[in-house]
Symmetry: C3
């Protein structure tokens, strides 16, 4: 199943419009190319509708949002909705400032999202309509583990049902759910949190996966999350004694570039709840 998703990305080469932060944007572009998609970045209100129109999907990431880019996010999102393009939201740091929380909620209100991907603290903030998070990382109090997994899955499913989007909550265990079904994915490596923007990269790649697999949005999003986790493992196995988080960043993207559907199927570790 995930194999087919991966191969569709490589065959269909989805062009993804990214309105994203300037911290991790280069890695987002390279991971899109690595997975078989094609990136274009554009955030000016004067062109985002044009750019979205020539693309297949839209990835909105609110890291380093500002007064100039917020209206562009809304305009692009509405245009993509009008055209029936998949739209992904990455609510980076929702809960860390009123501007981020309010912007994420406004986007949810005015744009219909296909997928929302964030850490558990960000997703809780969106579900509650308010919240506080420690910067751009999940609060440890919100940690998802084997013990609370079912309860968190129920929460994610119910929020997914409420807003009519697939929700991807990533962390030590990842949960990708619509209103009915949740994929709990156990791939990945803790050292991924030492690389800036692995979440942003995953969001960009997820946008490519759902754009290339419009008939299977839930499975496509789960496949993308699984790809990231598997590649985090493959890259970690490659680390030499002197390698650190910077080489690890490169190796993760390299692994995405080299990943085959067969390896993905073989290494995927998940259950459906």
């Amino acid at each position: 199943m995930f194999k087919e998703m991966l191969e569709n990305v490589r065959e269909r080469c989805p062009l993804i419009h990214n309105i994203t932060n300037y911290v991790t944007v280069n890695d987002c572009a390279n991971i899109l190319l690595a997975c078989g998609g094609s990136p274009i970045m554009s955030d000016d209100i004067g062109e985002v509708e044009d750019i979205t129109s020539i693309c297949g999907g839209l990835n909105i990431n609110i890291g380093t949002l500002n007064s100039r880019t917020i209206p562009a996010m809304l305009a692009a999102g509405k245009k993509a909705n009008e055209l029936g393009h998949p739209v992904l939201l990455d609510p980076v740091g929702a809960g860390a400032s009123a501007l981020r929380t309010d912007t994420a909620l406004k986007l949810l209100d005015e744009v219909k999202f296909t997928v929302i991907r964030g850490n558990i603290s960000e997703i809780k903030t969106l579900a509650a309509g308010s919240g506080t998070t420690k910067g751009v990382d999940a609060d440890s109090a919100d940690r998802v583990d084997e013990e609370n997994l079912e309860r968190v899955c129920d929460f994610v499913k119910s929020f997914a049902a409420k807003i009519g989007a697939v929700i991807a909550v990533t962390g030590a265990i990842d949960i990708v759910a619509d209103g009915e079904k949740a994929y709990c994915i156990f791939n990945g490596h803790p050292m991924m949190s030492c690389v800036t923007g692995t979440g942003c990269q995953l969001s960009a790649m997820t946008a490519a996966y759902v754009t290339a697999n419009p008939e299977n949005v839930l499975e496509a999003a789960a496949a993308a999350v699984c790809v990231m986790g598997v590649c985090g493992e493959i890259a970690h196995e490659r680390l030499s004694e002197r390698d650190g988080n910077s080489s690890y960043r490169n190796y993760i993207i390299d692994a995405v570039y080299n990943l085959s559907g067969g390896i993905l199927e073989k290494r995927a570790r998940y259950k459906v709840l």
Copy 2:
């Protein structure tokens, strides 16, 4: 010939003012350092004239252009013209949105460029005064190959003559021409298109080459294009089985850092039409 161009860059260490996109800017800075130049990035209307004045050349790249940076591009371009500094235009995505096409045309209208570097679709858009492109990559319909090479060279030469600039069209075969003479360069590797920003990097490096070789703009631009292609080949030869596009990015810049004039001459593959 190309050897001398390369050595002049390393000796003269041209300081290049870049108004460029936030996607590939870090790689542009590192490739400028790798080739022997020195980068400074600045895009605020309040300082671009000052910054251009202390530099030797200017590189204007319209990727992620916005309402704040467009006037800065125009002001810096005019200042550089006034000072007699070489100015390069990279019309990223011209044809992909009205804003990009219009901005590129406005820049062409108000600023005298020394070199314009783009893919064939972008250059056709500039020449036609309008156009549509698939994002930031060349349309496959526009592909330059052995069969249409002479015809494309004639087009590039005639556009170069019309606007009085050297035009560098990069792709599987690169064409660098003024009104009289075209270098057709066969170096490079297809995998370079899997690394974001190799075009932007080349533009930055070309600005350094023409700034360090003002008496030979055509040959300097051709040398820079050849350096990029040769380094794409050298870097590709270095790839191990687990390397992908992210390591490839690093290896290309590394190759530029280590390239000698002798190796460049030895590996350059081109003909003059």
Copy 3:
């Protein structure tokens, strides 16, 4: 001593708010993670006070400053002062444009800084209240060497005393001083100047060091400078024949990730004047 500073960063994991340039921001985020800190980037006036409030320290870097971000720098700096958070200034390119010089001086006037880190030309510009620099690199006329070291130390100490901040002047020899005491640090490698943003990265890391060691600001800043130099050496020892400045960039961050307090103490080369 430096060992303890390093270990405090790893234990306390300081969250650092960065208002910084889009050229080197990704490397700043990754080096913060490498040293044991945690980064958040935010530059909109609508949220910088919120973001600064949830962080432990603030790093203001004026590279690619603009009309939108300058007021955000001032607002964040004042908020951090109000909260008693350490604030670091990196006056990138002060002296290269009136906007940069004026902005740096305005920041010095309205915000109380804990540490200022720059090259000797930038620091001289701040001390003189005006100046000219060749882009973002130090003028060779300003070079610090064994011969003028004492004289430069006296200048740095006296400027540090005057503004009540620790001053870190980095170059071939680094000087980190308050009004009383100067650490002269001899670690590092000349090739570090071929990697864009090693200064920006050091500033971000220094902000983490002083935030995790508030009781020892001078020693913490000196430790951070020493870490960067030692890691530049370790990374250089790792370079293979085909590696260049791009791999070097990765290896420096990798070395920061792997550095232990023991190795730092063993390799640190400094004297106190």
